[in-house]
Each structure stands twice: as C-alpha cells, then as structure tokens.
C-alpha cells in the first residue's frame, strides 16, 4: 500500500474513531501521530493529493482534546503545510 492509499485510510480510521469517541481515550492521539508524523514530508511532496487528507487528520486530532505535547506535534505538522503554501507563493 503506497502513501496515496495509506493516508486516506488513516483519515477514515481517525474519522471513525472520532465518531465513536475513541480519539479522546488516553494515548490514542499520540499513537496516531506516531504513525502520521513520519508521513508528513511525503504528503507535502504529494500536496495536491494528500494536503487535504493531512489537513483533515490534523483538524480531527486538534478537536480531540490532545495533550500539550500532542498539540505541539500537531502544530508542527500544520506549520509544514503552511510552508508548502509559502513555497508555492514565492515560485515564479
């Protein structure tokens, strides 16, 4: 399974967990971040396909009352997506 299939699968799982209340269980957000964080640079390279997916994952996790440490990790991921915008903005 490549990342273009893998990341949307993670999003679907996160959304299911959110609906079931599972994201607020202790440690769950951190575990998801352990999986997603290493994929962020790859997702940024495939921004057109995976940027929306990654944004949705971040948004869902931000609303799950993460710990301060997890919040900082989410903010760092968000910063990488904002950097992708900036890279597109400055290209001529």
């Amino acid at each position: 399974m490549d990342i273009i299939t893998y990341l949307p699968t993670i999003l679907a799982l996160v959304q299911q967990l959110g609906q079931l209340g599972g994201l607020t269980l202790p440690g769950v957000v951190g575990k998801v971040l352990d999986i997603v964080e290493p994929l962020v640079p790859l997702a940024v390279k495939e921004f057109q396909t995976l940027g929306p997916v990654l944004r949705n994952i971040i948004g869902a996790l931000q609303q799950a009352n993460p710990t301060d440490d997890d919040w900082a990790r989410l903010s760092a991921m968000e910063d990488q997506l904002d950097a992708a915008f900036e890279a597109s903005a400055v290209q001529q």
Binding site: Q48, Q62, F85
Partner: protein
C-alpha cells in the same frame, strides 16, 4: 492540468467529510460576541480548505496564460497570497486561544472578522476565475 482537475474533483469529493464541509458551515456561524471552540474550528477548517485550494492554484499557475485555468493568475495571485498569509496568522491565534480557553468560549474580535473576511475574499476571487473551491 489533468492532474489538477482530478485533484479538484477529489477536493470536492472530500467536501463530504466533516472537516471540509466547513465552507458552508462557516456562513452559518453567527457573528456573535463569544465563540465556542467548535465555531473556531469550523472557521479554521474553512480557511484550511481555502488555503489548500490556493496552494494548488499557485503551484499550477505561477503566471497567467492566455486561456485555461491560469488565465487570471496575474489578478488572482496578488490577492490570494497576502490574504492567505493574513489568514494563517489569525487562524493560529484563534486556534491557540480556543485551546487555551479549555473548552470555554473566546471573544470574537478582529481576528475572527479577519479570518471570515479572508476566507470569503479568496473563495470569491477563485470562483470568479473558475477555480473550484469545495462547498
């Protein structure tokens, strides 16, 4: 170009997801004095959806072309680049404030007005030049 169209279709498809239904939800969040965390996240997610569309547009359209998707790039780029930069700043402030409020309401001040205005401005100009912008 073909890839951009596919991705635009994908983005529209993702509009079915809760987080990207936010463009229509944003308009339903009243301009009130106090904002719930949910309202802040709706606003932030609506902006995020626009930021992604804008990023893809800027990637595809570094300059204007006589026809096609990029024909208005010389008009669109100077509007959306500073608008997105402003939006990123206020989105960060609002989300951080919502987080710090611990589930309670936050004051809807100038940052909230800016986020709403920026989102609407970018959505409008992209739509004006035929760029698909989710829901």
């Amino acid at each position: 170009m073909r890839r951009f169209i596919i991705i635009a279709a994908l983005a529209l498809g993702l509009g079915g997801c809760a987080e990207l239904q936010t463009l229509s939800e944003l308009s339903s969040v009243a301009q009130t004095a106090a904002l719930s965390p949910k309202a802040v996240f709706i606003g932030a997610n609506a902006f995020d959806a626009i930021e992604i569309t804008a990023t893809n547009y800027l990637d595809q359209c570094p300059r204007a072309t006589p026809t096609g998707l990029c024909y208005g790039a010389d008009k669109v780029r100077p509007v959306i680049i500073p608008a997105i930069r402003s939006g990123i700043i206020v989105r960060r402030k609002l989300v951080a404030a919502a987080r710090a409020a611990g589930g309670g309401p936050i004051a809807a001040g100038a940052d909230w007005s800016t986020l709403r205005a920026v989102t609407a401005t970018i959505k409008d100009i992209l739509a004006q030049y035929g760029v698909p912008v989710g829901q």
